[in-house]
């Protein structure tokens, strides 16, 4: 049963290994807990889960598993469920935001109607899957699914142990972030950008020089020191903000600011869709414009430039005078882009849109051409390639 439980947790997308299973067995063997299901829940959680963002997934997996064990014979759908009761269950399980979402998305009545249709269509008890009523699926009807607009067919009233269990409360729902590009991976990738030089202050023993001087002194030790190595890489980042890129920006900023300590100098700029006369220093204060010509004058050509954007727009926004959707631009966007491209030695573009789709978008293909194919996917692999190119 423990092994089934373990596999169940693993299948729910949590990375658990054999070591954790063995630890759990060991812990049970040492009688740390009383034989109570709550205690087992806490124990297995602290041993198997190593990040609070998986708490919610664990709660769900735990719930599904023990549901199966304790309620093998209970079939919710054998008898017809009174609509009144269902509705109550349904409304109870929604959080405030979800309720709001529902209001904007789907009328409650409509959802109920659809549910009844599905219910009539379905003959058997069902678990998993995307359409039928049952447990654990993504269909909007059933229990423990991941569809926020779903109808949850209640667990609370129908079970033989005490109501409102900890794992049913789903307290950690907000902590599950599902970020695909892990901060740690990106940081490790960005670390490769480092370039060390020795500057400032003598604080490291210079062994070669000490040996040489000591030999010259006829054996009398003459200690020599040299400066510590410091990272010399300087980076300018340009973020596309507004519209399609907004979901990514927060993530990007966090990623790069976390990596900030790795670099000697790192500055952010923001633009909308494409580069024109100026960019913003601060996304909240767009009146403070930094002109491209000032950037080119101020920063040396050894700065590494990284654009982060989806490059998805009308092609005229790049190639035409007055192509910008926000203001009148005297020269086409691409001419400003060339100012940057020509001044700096290393320029790369990170694009969160999957690589396979690039060729179908005119503006992405064109931007890729402008940047001489130095456009990379915003994935671990892509960032690695970009870093490799930038650090050459």
């Amino acid at each position: 049963m423990l092994i089934d439980f373990f596999l169940n947790v693993k299948n729910s997308g949590i990375n658990v290994t054999l070591k954790e299973l063995l630890d759990l067995v060991n812990a049970l063997d040492k009688r740390i807990i009383n034989p109570k299901i709550e205690e087992f829940y806490y124990l297995s959680r602290s041993i198997m889960i190593k990040d609070e963002k998986y708490y919610d997934r664990f709660d769900r997996a735990f719930s599904i598993f023990f549901e199966g064990v304790e309620n093998l014979d209970v079939d919710f759908l054998k008898d017809e469920i009174p609509e009144e009761w269902l509705r109550k269950q349904f409304e109870k399980t929604l959080t405030k935001e979800e309720r709001k979402k529902i209001e904007s998305l789907d009328d409650l009545e409509e959802l109920m109607k659809k549910f009844m249709e599905t219910f009539n269509e379905q003959k058997n008890r069902h678990q998993g899957g995307g359409k039928w009523i049952g447990t654990g699926g993504t269909s909007p009807y059933g229990a423990y699914g991941s569809n926020p607009f779903g109808i949850r067919i209640g667990q609370d009233g129908n079970r033989n142990f005490s109501a409102a269990k900890v794992w049913d409360k789903r307290k950690y729902m907000n902590l599950d972030d599902d970020v695909e590009v892990g901060t740690r991976n990106i940081k490790v990738a960005l670390k490769k950008l480092r370039k060390f030089k020795r500057i400032n202050g003598n604080d490291e023993l210079d062994i070669d020089e000490t040996i040489k001087k000591t030999a010259n002194n006829g054996g009398y030790v003459d200690i020599r020191l040299k400066p510590e190595r410091k990272n010399q890489v300087k980076v300018l980042l340009f973020f596309d903000v507004g519209g399609s890129m907004d979901p990514y920006i927060k993530l990007c900023e966090e990623l790069f600011s976390a990596a900030k300590y790795e670099f000697k100098n790192m500055e952010y700029f923001y633009f909308h869709n494409f580069i024109y006369e100026g960019v913003w220093n601060n996304n909240d204060r767009r009146e403070e414009v930094v002109e491209i010509k000032d950037i080119v004058n101020k920063y040396g050509s050894d700065y590494k430039i990284i654009f982060v954007g989806d490059a998805s727009m009308g092609i005229y926004e790049i190639t035409h005078i007055n192509g910008s959707i926000e203001h009148y631009n005297e020269k086409p966007g691409e001419s400003y882009f060339y100012q940057i491209k020509n001044h700096f030695d290393r320029v790369a573009w990170l694009n969160p849109i999957p690589k396979e789709e690039w060729e179908y978008s005119q503006s992405i293909s064109y931007t890729k051409h402008l940047i001489e194919n130095k456009m990379f996917n915003f994935t671990i692999d892509g960032v690695n390639q970009a870093v490799k190119y930038l650090s050459k």
């Binding site: 602290s46 740690r184 023993l205």
Partner: protein, 281 residues
């Protein structure tokens, strides 16, 4: 061995107690995460108190290296001493400076070793301590001796989530996330700190506090430690009760807010919110 439970100075929820006890029994490091100010560091001290032993604290900074926790070999002093003909140089162990881990390994009885804010260090830092924390031993190359823990210390590691920790490291730990206390737990916590507080004042202060935490968009949410500071101020100033109650009317934000809100933008935002609220009435 004694089990860890809530003490009369520290309230631990049941799941936290269980996590601490399983880490003690399984002899694995306990990794504690949670919002700042939920008592992560304090926990280690309380564990030490409850099993009646000493605590060794190792505070991690961005420049801390794993090796510093084990030992450091002071080669330069030795080289200098050799020039002066000091007899100390014959014994290399005179120049080995012991680190916190070594101290903990050597201790006569089981101690609590706190590795505080491990996420501050370089991302490879936890990886460098894998073997040492797993086997509780390390090798000193200079003196060719193997240091093995006499009593495996209870290792408590705290993290503020600034950096992600490597999987291999996590796999060796027991993990617990301290959730922000709910109202009744919070009442217990306050009662522990201020046993004489009036029930009414407590419940009103908590109202203000939880209301404040519900304000969306605050840069820094007030936490338990801030609440305790604030209560201290309230009690010492002997604020009349009605000041707390009239918060909706003329006063923009809670009295003595300096203890609760640590950011001037947050103060401004609250004032703006109150203003809008009043105008809306």
């Amino acid at each position: 061995m004694k089990k860890f439970t809530s003490t009369n100075s520290y309230i631990a929820t049941h799941d936290l107690e269980l996590a601490v006890n399983s880490s003690m029994i399984l002899e694995k490091p306990l990794l504690i995460k949670g919002e700042p100010g939920t008592g992560k560091t304090l926990l280690a001290e309380e564990i030490a108190k409850s099993i009646d032993t000493n605590i060794i604290k190792w505070h991690i900074k961005s420049t801390t290296k794993a090796q510093q926790g084990l030992y450091e070999y002071d080669a330069i002093t030795r080289l200098r001493d050799s020039q002066l003909g000091d007899s100390r140089i014959q014994d290399i162990s005179n120049y080995i400076v012991k680190g916190k881990l070594w101290e903990a390994f050597e201790a006569k009885k089981k101690v609590v070793l706190l590795i505080d804010e491990i996420d501050k260090a370089d991302i490879e830092f936890p990886n460098d301590l894998l073997l040492e924390l797993d086997k509780m031993e390390f090798y000193v190359y200079e003196t060719k001796e193997n240091i093995v823990a006499k009593n495996r210390p209870i290792v408590i590691i705290t993290s503020n989530n600034e950096k992600e920790l490597p999987d291999a490291f996590l796999r060796r730990c027991i993990f617990h996330y301290i959730k922000f206390p709910e109202r009744d737990t919070m009442e217990q916590i306050i009662a522990v700190h201020f046993p004489k507080i009036k029930k009414k004042l407590l419940s009103e202060a908590l109202d203000v506090f939880f209301e404040l935490r519900d304000v969306p968009g605050l840069k820094k949410n007030p936490s338990t430690s801030e609440l305790i500071d604030w209560m201290k101020l309230l009690l010492s100033d002997d604020i009349p009760r009605d000041v707390l109650l009239e918060r909706d009317e003329s006063k923009a934000i809670p009295p003595l807010h300096g203890a609760l809100i640590k950011n001037e933008q947050d103060v401004q935002m609250l004032e703006r919110l109150r203003f809008m609220l009043r105008r809306g009435k």
